[in-house]
């Protein structure tokens, strides 16, 4: 069973970058063609 559902994926990279700067954590961007 996939544990991918544990990850809270965002959809706005610019918002993610703002959050990243606040939390000093890097952004991970996943580009996929897998069925959702």
């Amino acid at each position: 069973m996939s544990d991918d559902s544990q990850i809270k994926w965002g959809k706005d990279v610019d918002q993610a970058l703002r959050t990243a700067k606040q939390q000093q954590r890097p952004v991970l961007v996943d580009f996929t063609a897998a069925p959702s």
């Binding site: 996939s2 959809k11 970058l17 990243a20 991970l28 961007v29």
Partner: protein, 147 residues
């Protein structure tokens, strides 16, 4: 999709995760010059610059290694040599049979040297490559440090 719980835990703990599907966000593919899937980008938290790009599928142990190498890359960017060395050394030790481990060995040596400017750190890295990861591109890169 990430079937390994280790991957999910690492992503949630260390990153701000964003996902784009090829059908839904073509602009994002162009913005980041993505040419294949899956592609993972690790972006620096300070300026959004690309710290690491992982193209194509990897099994879980290699993928975790790449994520941790990316964390080390970000630490190097911020000249946090101690943190970088910890990440890289962990990659080298946790799954020593992986391609990521060889790269971790190399960059752990670079981080140690960058902190101390003591060339013996590079020489020691070259020596370690004579005992493991022989024949890898990272061993070849480190060979110049044998002295």
């Amino acid at each position: 999709m990430y079937p390994s719980p280790n991957v999910a835990r690492l992503i949630e703990a260390e990153f701000i995760p964003v996902r784009f599907h090829i059908k839904d966000n073509p602009g994002m593919w162009h913005r980041f010059d993505v040419r294949w899937t899956p592609t993972i980008l690790i972006l620096d938290w300070d300026d959004g610059s690309e710290a690491r790009r992982v193209e194509g599928f990897l099994p879980a142990d290699e993928f975790v290694g790449q994520l941790e190498l990316g964390l080390g890359d970000v630490a190097i960017e911020h000249k946090d040599w101690a943190k970088a060395q910890r990440y890289f050394a962990h990659v080298a030790e946790a799954n020593p049979e992986t391609d990521a481990a060889a790269e971790g060995e190399y960059w752990a040596g670079v981080a140690k040297y960058s902190a101390s400017h003591d060339a013996s750190a590079l020489k020691e890295t070259a020596r370690r490559f004579t005992q493991r990861h022989q024949g890898t591109s990272w061993a070849k890169r480190a060979s110049v440090w044998k002295g």
